[in-house]
Each structure stands twice: as C-alpha cells, then as structure tokens.
Homo-oligomer: 335 residues x 2
Amino acid sequence: MPANIKDVARLAGVSSATVSRVLNGSAGVRTDTRDRVMAVVRQLNFAPSAVAKGLREGRSGIAGVCVPDISSLFFMDVVKGLENTLALSDYRLVVCDSQNQAKKERENCRWFLSGGVDALILIGPMMEQSALAELADMGTPIGIFGRRMDHPNVTSVAVENRVTAYRATEHLINHGHRKIAFITGIPGVTDGDEREAGYREALAQYGLPFQPDWVQVGNFTEEGGIRAFDTLLALPDRPTAVFTANDEMAIGVLTEARRCGLSVPEDIAVVGFDNIRLARLVAPALTSVNQPRMDAGFRLAQNLVQRMNGSADPERIVLEADLVIRQSCGCKWST
Amino acid sequence: MPANIKDVARLAGVSSATVSRVLNGSAGVRTDTRDRVMAVVRQLNFAPSAVAKGLREGRSGIAGVCVPDISSLFFMDVVKGLENTLALSDYRLVVCDSQNQAKKERENCRWFLSGGVDALILIGPMMEQSALAELADMGTPIGIFGRRMDHPNVTSVAVENRVTAYRATEHLINHGHRKIAFITGIPGVTDGDEREAGYREALAQYGLPFQPDWVQVGNFTEEGGIRAFDTLLALPDRPTAVFTANDEMAIGVLTEARRCGLSVPEDIAVVGFDNIRLARLVAPALTSVNQPRMDAGFRLAQNLVQRMNGSADPERIVLEADLVIRQSCGCKWST
DNA sequence: CGCCGACTTGAAATCGATTACATCAATATC
DNA sequence: GATATTGATGTAATCGATTTCAAGTCGGCG
C-alpha cells in the first residue's frame, strides 16, 4: 500500500536509480533533478522500504532483544542500558516478549536471526543450553545477560551470584537467624541455581543444618513467592527468615506476610535479590542484592558493537553485586 | 553469514524451488527428495530469511508497537493485552522504546512502517497530531492507546479521562478537602490535559476557587512528581490534598512526603491515576483511578486483526475507568 | 568542424525467497 | 505402438532498493 521507489521515479520523470541517489545523498545529481525528486518524495510521504534495503545491503542496523517478560522492571533496566549504548552506534533496539515460555523464546530468537538482525541479545534466557548453542552456531553475534556461557560466538554478562547470595545469607545469620528459608526461581535457570548454591554454602559454613523443607520453588513471580511462602508457613518448624532468588518473590512474601498478620522484620525477616525499583518503595522497604544492571547492559552492548565492527572478540563478563540494606532484614541502621 | 536457500539446494542436489516447496509443505515433492532436503536443512540449521519472505509476500506477520518508555509498568500492561490477542491470530509483536522523546517516536514509527509491519500501534503517543496524521496517511492500519483521534485509518482506545478525573476530585472534596492541588503530565498530551479539565470542572462545580499555583507541571515521572510537590510545599497557602495525572507522580509525592516528615493521608491526601501495580504495594497504598488496560489492549488488538482481514473498519473506543480506594486518600473503609 | 572529458542519467544485476509456467519422464490408454 | 495424462522438478519473474557499468549530453579546445 505505501508508495515505492518506482512510484516516485515515475512521478518525477526519472529512473529509480536517480531517486535512490537523491535519497542517499550520492554525488552527481543535478540540483534541479534533486529538487524535483524531493518534491515528489515529500508529496507521497515516501520512505524507502527497510526490508528491501536490508535485503540488498546485508545489514539491518537492528539489534534484537528477547526478554522473558516485558513487564519485568528488572529486565527492562538491562534493556535501557543496552539501548543507550547501541543508540550511540546507530543501532535500533527491538524487543520481543517471550512470556516466560522457553518455546516462544526459541521462536523469537530464530525469527530475529532469520530477520537478519546484526546482533541478538537474550536477557535471562530460559531455553536449554543446547538450544542456545544451536542459535549461537548460526553466526550472528550473540549476547546473553544472566547466564554464563562458553561459546566462541557468545558474549555473556552475569553477576557473581554464588558469592553474593552467600553474603546475603550470612547477613541474615549475623542477625541471629538460625532458621533461614530460601525460595528458588525456576530450577534449571542458572541464576537462581547459583544463588541457591550460595545460600547452602553459607548455611554449611556456619554449621546450620540444611532443611529440605525450607527450600521452596517459586517461579520468579510475585504469585510464586506467595505460594512458596504459604507452604513455609504451614511447616511445623517455621523459618524466621526468608531469602528469595529475586525481588518479585520477596514482594510476594511481604504482601502475604501482611495478609497473614505477620510483621516484617519482627516476625519474619526478608531479603531479596535484584534490587528492583519496587524494593525501596514497598513497606517495609526491602533489603536486596543490587545488580548493576544498567552497567551490565552497557558492557554487553559495548562488546557487541565492537564485535560487529570486527574489532573485538566475545567476552565473559562477571560483575560484582552488593547488598543494599533497608528495613526488611531487621537492621537498625537501615535507610 | 547464515546459510541461504541456494546453499541448501546445492547440497541437496535440487533447485531452490524444490527446497522452498519442501519448507512450505507444498504438495508434489517425492518423499525421498523431501527427506534429502530436510536432512540438509537440519544439517545447516537453515531458516528461511524472514526479510526476503516478507519482501516477496508483501506481508510480514508483524505488529509493531511504539512505547514512550519500556520500563513503564502501565504501558507494558497494555502491551500484554495486545500480545495475547495478536498471538491468537499468529501475529508477532515487536516493541520499540521511544525513551520519552517525540523525535525517537516518529523515527521508530516510520521505521516500522518502512519495515513493512502489518499494523502499527502507538501507546501514549507524544508526537504532534499532524505528525500522527502523516503516519496514518501511509495506509498501514494504525492503533492508538491513550489518545483519541479522528482519522479514517486509526483505531483509538482511551478511557473517559475527564469524567473520571472529575469523580476522583469529587472524592477528595467529599473528604472535606478544600485546597486540592493537581500535578499535570506533559502539557499537550491529551490524556493529562483531559484529566486536568475534569479536575477544574469538579472545583468549579463545588464552588471551590481555582488556584493557578496549585496546578504544577510534572512530566509523568516519579522525579517530576517530587519536583512539583516540592513547589507546592513551598507555597504560602499549602494544599491539603494532591491529585496527580498518573501514579508515577503520585508515588513521587508519597516518597517526598515521607522524606519531609509529612504523613499521608493525615497531613496530605493523595490520589493517583492509572492504578499501576505499585499502587497497592507502596505505603500507604495509593488510591487511584483504575484503567482497564489489559482490556484496552485486547479491544485494540481485536479491531486491528479484523482490519487486517479487511473485515472491520477503524473504531473509536472509549472505556470506563473507576476509582480504586486504598489508604492514601484517607477513607476509613479502605482496603 | 571534430574530438575528448566531465557530468548526468538509465539499464540491468543483485540480495533470498516464492510461485506461475515450462519441461521432462514415466505410466496409462486406445 | 502412439498419444494423453500424471507427477516431479527446474527456469525465470517477482518483491523494492542499491550499485555498477554503459550511454548519453554538453561544453571546451584545437
């Protein structure tokens, strides 16, 4: 339906080659011809088809991003970091939502690759490692946030989950807690698994017995946190503190605790992971592990831009994370 | 870099036409040929170029969405609604972030259109009406959330801003407030303007004088809300209640009030607009106007799908919104 | 007057996939 | 045994833009 280059050529009485030259500012077009063509371009409100252009030039100027959930504040911060950096090199960022389904994620990624994106970025990928490797084999530069991957075509950025989770658990132990529960994400997603490992390690280090009942599966969502917390509450031997694999679930714990008449941190202490924007806004404000996600996006984008230039190789970047202390853990000196 | 159909054809010892037939499941290919081709397809991990396909078929199967801010919870709910509905008709949704810049929004939209999307959806558009009309003239079906527009190619969905804002203001008046401030969004964005109109109308109706100082410009962000509220606090005659054009700004008011040692709703009552997820999570929980945004996304997507089939015309949809009463307005019977 | 070079412009190939049409072989039919 | 029919496959045009190469026009200069 929209006008194409031939329409413009016909109306301006020139060939499509000339129109193309005018549009791309190539030299060697007479001024009056240029003016005549531009007049028609404006009249038709013509814009050259990015599809045809991409096909011809073999370069789209697009970086595709797959996110598991487009309404996740946490992931969107990473996207913002990517966006700002990629925009500097004139790449456009387009985002697809995988709705927390590994299948959709695979489809979106394949579609991006077949659509000729110049780079593909996966945020918190859910698909299996082998499926990921298959995508990486296709040759387009790939970036991953939130999972470490050893592949000659993948730049990955992840935080030091294990060590940081260890410290967060340690923090609760130092508050005198002996019965500390952990709410996991989706088993198999490395991020959550590593955090659980850090939690277990801290318990072991401090000689606290590991209680299988105190590890409940959430699914990184508020609802998952609520369900997992309900299970914990029903236990004969209730924990006095909960550490969750992400903030969404911690917020679930907070709201469910309020609903059950438990006060945080007096009856139950809560520590989250991610430090999303909500963490400082909820009541009580949530103590959480801060992931430098804007920075992560920046580092990832930077490396990808260089890879597209051919001026850098894939990297494996590991970032430090730190505990932001607020009210939910029971610290007196909280902000 | 990725394999193309000719590579497959060569390796399988057939023509590209046969490969295409195999890939699209067309009849009239011998079983052994089909198997041979499929073996090569799997071996090369081949996926047909969506670019070339789109160019040839004149249909991309994509709906493009432009959002002003990809980390806005409110807008993303609308996107979710769109996504679910469009997925049923096998359209893929791709999202571009305009980073609250009208210029980027225009660029993204033009790029989407030149990229051959089958439909373009603008969420809370910031660009001028004339620029919007220019896009609409290009022929691709357009959907808009959050602004009413009369154009033969635009389906728009918006809530009844004026009436609802009137009711929200009325609610504060019924609580005994006489000095009610309003924090606007970005002047020129119809949504915010209409809400302001409703606010003024309520004041007039109840015989309360309109105080220009009590209307402060925010920009739909938390920071904007904070700045506007600071200005209000510095006034010789301080308001006792604040109504904001969206929740983000209301949350700014809430945090700033806490920082200044003012308690909500005792010292200052607050009512927001949008009922984002944060509204029920902040302390005190925010009374806010609920926009049925999933439903909005659903209605918008539904009409667009029909328009793409050619089985419907553009519509102007107006939805009802209702006030969700929580704690920040000072109601005793709050949830 | 004729030739050369500079400057404009157009014709045609190209990118990767789809598809109408042509071709060819093998079988069926009289 | 010659021809019609069916089935399987290849050839080439097409989508819209870019770009190389060729061709055309014009002026200048001998």
